[in-house]
Point group: none
Chain length 200, copies 4
């Protein structure tokens, strides 16, 4: 058992270094040599734990998404209505990337935009996170809280599109401001739209 932990530890050690390096440029700019140096191991060792560069690359979200989903479940516990669940989802989504900026760069600037990733096994895992949003949206529709006349995928796109957009701009601007600063407005506009209520 001690041995298993050691191997797992090495893997995480390599992934952690990879997040750093991949986060500092794109897939092609990142070099195995640099990852090895940052992880304080030899290049060969990386290939003992990962099949190739892409395998290591996709191992990053594979692990991070699992962490995200686990903590998300924890955060949602005790909340029952879809309104508050979705607000919590929104908050935790932003919080998660705020506290993992290097990973945010990798995910937003590289993976979400990588065709191979989209067809990889990891991407299936990644659906767990977006499916959770869909699940809450459906619950809201059934509870009569969210509109039923709109395709649920459009609603999902509204939510996730906005969130990804904001995280992406944030990393492109070098995380120069607080990602959570407009959290209130974001929820407001998602639920009530941009139209002035004076017009009702």
């Amino acid at each position: 058992m001690a041995k298993i932990n050691r191997k797992d530890l090495r893997r995480k050690q390599i992934i952690e270094a990879a997040i750093d390096v991949f986060g500092n440029g794109n897939f092609h700019e990142a070099s195995i040599t640099e990852i090895a140096r940052k992880a304080n191991i030899s290049e060969g060792t990386i290939y003992f734990y990962f099949k190739n560069k892409e395998d290591l690359f996709f191992a990053i979200p594979a692990q991070k998404i699992e962490e995200f989903c686990e903590e998300l479940e924890f955060q949602l516990e005790g909340i029952q209505d879809a309104f508050n669940k979705l607000k919590k989802y929104t908050w935790f989504y932003l919080f998660h990337f705020k506290t993992n900026p290097a990973y945010a760069r990798s995910l937003m600037l590289e993976m979400h935009v990588n065709k191979n990733f989209y067809n990889s096994k990891t991407s299936v895992q990644s659906k767990r996170a977006t499916d959770k949003a869909l699940e809450i949206i459906r619950q809201g529709q059934e509870e009569g809280l969210f509109r039923k006349d709109i395709d649920e995928e459009v609603i999902q796109a509204l939510l996730l599109g906005m969130l990804e957009y904001r995280v992406t701009k944030w990393v492109l601007k070098d995380q120069a401001y607080d990602l959570l600063e407009n959290y209130g407005d974001i929820c407001e506009v998602i639920f009530n739209g941009i139209k002035s209520s004076e017009n009702i």
Copy 2:
């Protein structure tokens, strides 16, 4: 003048080939050799018209965005209220990428996500397109059509985030469906949000 036109023609000829090649993979996968072959010129010639590979890469949106803005102005002509302007903006945004899929791939999967692009001169041009959305939003707020209690940048993120999200997923799915098919729902949800009106 004849000479200038000829130079411009060559440039466009190269850019057109570049859109094709860059659209078929990412920046690093695209090769100058292939672009040259597709444009029926030699590699050396490319370096007569463009400083380097990145310069050529960024010349693509520089030209396309100009086209977009020009046609957008034309499409908006005669429309006066912010509501219908924003709907038109939404429609034309989706239409533009629907009819330029290779460019859509390049822009969404590469440029929007490229730090150098973000700091490049071209990116300033690219702001013309997003600023136009902001302008309409502001007009709407002043007209009392759009809410003033929400930061205009959040509203912009709602709109553009969703649009980018949908275009991105569309190219990742190989343009397998009609990008405009949910246009109605998209407008609805932007203006009125996702909350059921039964709850008011």
Copy 3:
């Protein structure tokens, strides 16, 4: 003694795996890892029994040639004249490789052609087999059965050259036919040459 036997057993177990793996490609394509896997031991253990990869490689013929010579002596027992001895040699040579195809590949395509092998201790052992042919040739010359006007090494080259040539083509053609099918013709032509007897 039990211990010595155990060591020998391990050695043979490794050599047997090595014959398989080396026979499936060339020296450089064969990997220690694969040999270890096939022998059901770890890579480290191989280095307990053999100094390095080449040492293991050359241990293959060292063992196989010993087997060849032992059985050859047995096959020659009771045969007295050089004619029949040489025919038997020819037959057993072909039979031996027919029944050891993986080893045939290694020996013909790799060792016979390897400078280090030629200068190795194993190669000296390998001379035992070719010397046996020379011995029979000399006996034949003394008995007046074989011509004396021809350098014995040329005769040896005629015999072994042809045999190696046929075994080599056979393994290059993936052992697709019976190596012994032309045994009769082979003997005939060695003894009587290619000239038509009509011309005498």
Copy 4:
């Protein structure tokens, strides 16, 4: 036309360096870097003229065999009977390798023994040389000079097997003696076999 010659010259320049380097070790031991250095060009240039390392490797016999066949035709001109043709073939075969020792090493120790070579296009070319021997053998059989009761392929194996064997041993012994020194004996034994004529 000047340009074409220049390209051909470069190719030959690279091939000449490759013969040297490949002749000094095996395929895997030879390095592109060294070939480039010996040819006084950069590594990249090699890849402009050859697809990859193996392509360059096989280009060696592709050229040398052509040279061999051309000169062979020239040497055979004016000789009419199969006897003397075969003797000339034998002589020229040995002469050719005597005067191209580095190539002899490459061909005998590497290519003749390389499965990929055997399946390559070059190998088809290489059949031109061995087919010429077969052609002479058939002519001899028809003229009643060579025996018809022996499979022609066995006769070919007798001839080529012996020749390859002698060239191979010669290069393995570092060309320490004259490859042609036993030429007379070699012809004798091929035509008349090893059996003493006293026995007829």
